[in-house]
């Protein structure tokens, strides 16, 4: 557990003046994640909002070494950086403990970068991969991804007279990463900053690969007022749409249990992308979405050894 006092004494490693939207969730995630690091950090980043908003040449918002290569290869690029670190350290050409963090959006992680991620995790590189999951391809203008929740209106799964938005439930990537049997997997939310910082600390401390899936509210894609990002992240957690848990060497642990599990409608109705679900003809879909969350939540509770 980090204290605010401790964290406030540390340097913020992402500068202000980057070009993310007002209210964007990812600068907060970067700030919290880098505050957790005890060692110097080298960052790799997939093409996406984070990269284009923070590195417009000749400016950079990063106070740590940063590399962007392409959309789908943050994990393999960082594999190479980490391999170089191992090689140069072994040869006595480098004598410093360095932590490695890759950032990718849900597009670069769940979808186009999935193979590179899986390969890097299987090979066991000593790195933390963080997915900032804003639940669609936001950088190119809100197209659906496999992380987009069912029913969301996106530009490639638009709601219309014959459509209620995205038909499929989201891919449970955290579970897929647990199946890689890597030392550490966790879900986090910037609303629960202490939980997030603690998890990043743990993830960086393990020997070998770690994966964190962090929900990131997107003002433009989710369609809500820009001062409500953290509230919406919190609601995702409290409705159990985005449970906070960790899997350490295969052991599941719920790291936060809402006092009262809120109905998912509380989260959905605050976002323009779900507005159409509240039309009478979509009542059944809303019901199904709630049932899906309930099922996943009870399954997770069982895995974590929690009472239902």
């Amino acid at each position: 557990m980090a204290t605010l006092k401790e964290l406030s004494n540390k340097e913020i490693l992402i500068s202000s003046g980057h070009r993310a939207c007002a209210g964007c969730g990812f600068p907060i995630i970067i700030k919290q994640a880098l505050l957790a690091a005890e060692n110097p950090v080298v960052v790799a980043c997939a093409t996406g909002c984070m990269e284009v908003c923070t590195t417009i040449y000749p400016y950079t918002a990063w106070k740590v070494p940063f590399i962007h290569n392409a959309f789908e290869n943050a994990a393999s690029t960082l594999s190479g950086v980490e391999a170089a670190y191992k090689s140069l350290s072994r040869q006595g050409k480098l004598d410093k403990k360095i932590d490695f963090i890759a950032f990718g959006g849900d597009g670069g992680t769940y979808d186009i970068g999935f193979q590179a991620l899986s390969g890097a995790m299987e090979r066991g590189h000593n790195m933390l991969y963080i997915c900032y999951d804003n639940q669609a391809y936001m950088n190119t203008g809100i197209q659906r991804s496999s992380a987009t929740p069912r029913g969301a209106n996106t530009t490639t799964s638009p709601a219309g007279t014959e459509s209620y938005g995205k038909k499929q439930y989201r891919k449970d990537l955290s579970a897929v990463m647990v199946a890689h049997e890597i030392p550490y997997v966790a879900q986090a939310s910037p609303s629960n900053w202490n939980d997030l910082v603690t998890k990043v600390k743990k993830a960086l401390a393990v020997e070998g690969p770690a994966f964190m899936n962090i929900i990131q509210p997107c003002v433009l894609g989710w369609k809500y007022p820009s001062d409500q990002s953290i509230e919406l992240a919190k609601l995702a957690v409290d409705t159990c749409f985005w449970p906070l848990y960790e899997v350490e060497n295969g052991e599941y642990k719920l790291t936060y249990r809402p006092k009262e599990k809120k109905p998912v409608e509380d989260w959905l109705k605050r976002q323009g992308r779900f507005r159409h679900l509240f039309k009478p003809e979509n009542a059944e879909i809303l019901k199904e979405i709630q049932e899906d969350i309930d099922t996943r939540w009870s399954r997770l509770l069982a895995k974590c050894g929690e009472e239902a």
Binding site: P40, V41, V42, A44, E51, V52, T55, I56, Y57, P58, T60, W62, K63, V64, P65, F66, I67, H68, N69, A70, E72, N73, A75, S76, T77, L78, S79, G80, V81, E82, A83, A84, Y85, K86, S87, L88, R90, Q91, L94, K96, I98, Q115, A116, S118, G119, A120, E122, R123
Partner: protein
């Protein structure tokens, strides 16, 4: 003193990689390159190199990890063929755009489809404008020599560009030949210590690599990249001359074979040069003034030098081991013909596309091209600007 050994092309290149002792190799096996990866793995397994070997899950990740490693400040290599190179495509361009001195042996193989594992040049010819230096090799000796020279070229501060060292799949990669290799310490001394510029792992001096580069700067950076390719030409020659002092083997931008007094000549790359030399010798024995120009450095393209070497010839045939499907001719033909445009009363020039998908090419095939050239030289008339050689039409 050099060491005389019997090696296949793949073995020779793997040996060069062992001697270069890269900090990182990230590679994925593909026929006919597979042996390079296998042999190198055994070097790693037996402590013969300091290399961290990344057994990536694809060629896309091979090039991505190599870019990461090179950016980190490591001397980095990979190797591939055909579809593997195609799968890397996006990152092949990024490696050049980021000005990373990566060295990549490419064992030439036909690019699908249809699927074919045998030699042609469609893979590397497709990457000819990706911003990589391309060195072609006639045999295992040249593949080894090119591989040893490549890091020096790539890492030169005036160049800082990645280098492909190619050899013909199976014909060279799997054929055993007697060749000479250098002692390990001579290679290490020749290539020297790698001093990276702005490495990512210098955490005290953080840099941002691979930023978004928009309308206000991208053009300047691309212009610098173009200049680096121009700078590569003299650097390649300097490195070759230093290498000649070490080995006695002289390399230029291309090799001229009995070209000085030739009336007719062919331009060729790779292993077919050896076949063509046999044809030239047989024709010379009959009094035909045949010659050959073998391109070693295809990128940067030595246009002026080629024009100068061919200007006295009456008829030239460019042999392309790939088609560009532009309905005009092969990629080497297009470049050579363009190079000859400014030569007053220059040679007539025709194109032969041959050896696609590993189709065998013999001295007799090459001699039919010379026979056509003799006729063109005599009449001054070109009947067939483009001929597909050794094919059922």
């Amino acid at each position: 003193m050099s060491i005389r050994v019997g090696k296949t092309g793949n073995e020779a290149v793997a040996e060069a990689m062992r001697q270069i002792n890269p900090d990182v190799v990230a590679a994925y096996p593909i026929t006919p390159q597979t042996e390079i990866v296998q042999i190198f793995s055994s070097f790693v397994a037996n402590g013969k190199v300091d290399t961290e070997f990344v057994t990536v899950e694809s060629e896309h990740s091979a090039m991505s990890a190599t870019v990461g490693a090179a950016s980190a400040g490591a001397r980095s290599m990979t190797a591939t063929s055909a579809n593997g190179l195609a799968f890397m495509w996006e990152i092949v361009y990024i490696a050049a755009g980021m000005r990373l001195p990566i060295v990549m042996p490419v064992v030439n193989r036909a690019l699908s489809g249809p699927l074919n594992i045998h030699c042609d040049h469609s893979d590397t010819m497709g990457a000819r404008d990706s911003g990589w230096i391309q060195l072609f090799s006639e045999n295992a000796q040249e593949a080894y020599d090119n591989a040893v020279q490549a890091p020096r070229i790539a890492e030169n501060p005036d160049v800082k560009l990645p280098v492909m060292v190619t050899m013909d799949g199976f014909i060279i990669s799997h054929a055993m030949e007697v060749m000479e290799i250098l002692e390990d310490e001579k290679v290490r001394e020749f290539i020297g210590k790698y001093v990276p510029e702005n490495p990512l792992l210098d955490v005290d001096n953080p840099v941002t690599l691979g930023p978004v580069d928009l309308q206000d700067w991208n053009f300047e950076h691309k212009r610098q990249q173009a200049e680096a390719m121009r700078n590569a030409k003299p650097v390649i020659l300097d490195v070759a001359s230093e290498y000649a002092k070490l080995t006695g083997r002289k390399y230029g931008l291309f090799e001229e074979y009995k070209l000085d007094d030739a009336d007719i000549a062919i331009v060729v790359l790779g292993s077919t040069a050896g076949t063509a030399k046999v044809a030239v010798d047989q024709l010379r024995a009959k009094g035909v003034r045949a010659g050959m120009l073998k391109i070693r450095v295809f990128r940067p393209f030595p246009a002026e030098e080629i024009a100068d070497a061919l200007k006295h010839v009456k008829a030239v045939a460019v042999m392309d081991r790939s088609d560009s499907f532009n309905a005009v001719g092969g990629p080497v033909f297009v470049d050579v013909r363009s190079a000859l445009y400014d030569v007053d009363n220059g040679p007539k020039i025709v194109n032969y596309i041959y050896g696609i998908g590993g189709r065998d090419v013999t001295p007799d095939h090459v001699k039919t091209a010379y026979a056509d050239l003799a006729k063109i030289a005599e009449t001054g008339q070109v009947e067939n600007p483009l001929t597909y050689l050794g094919i059922r039409e």
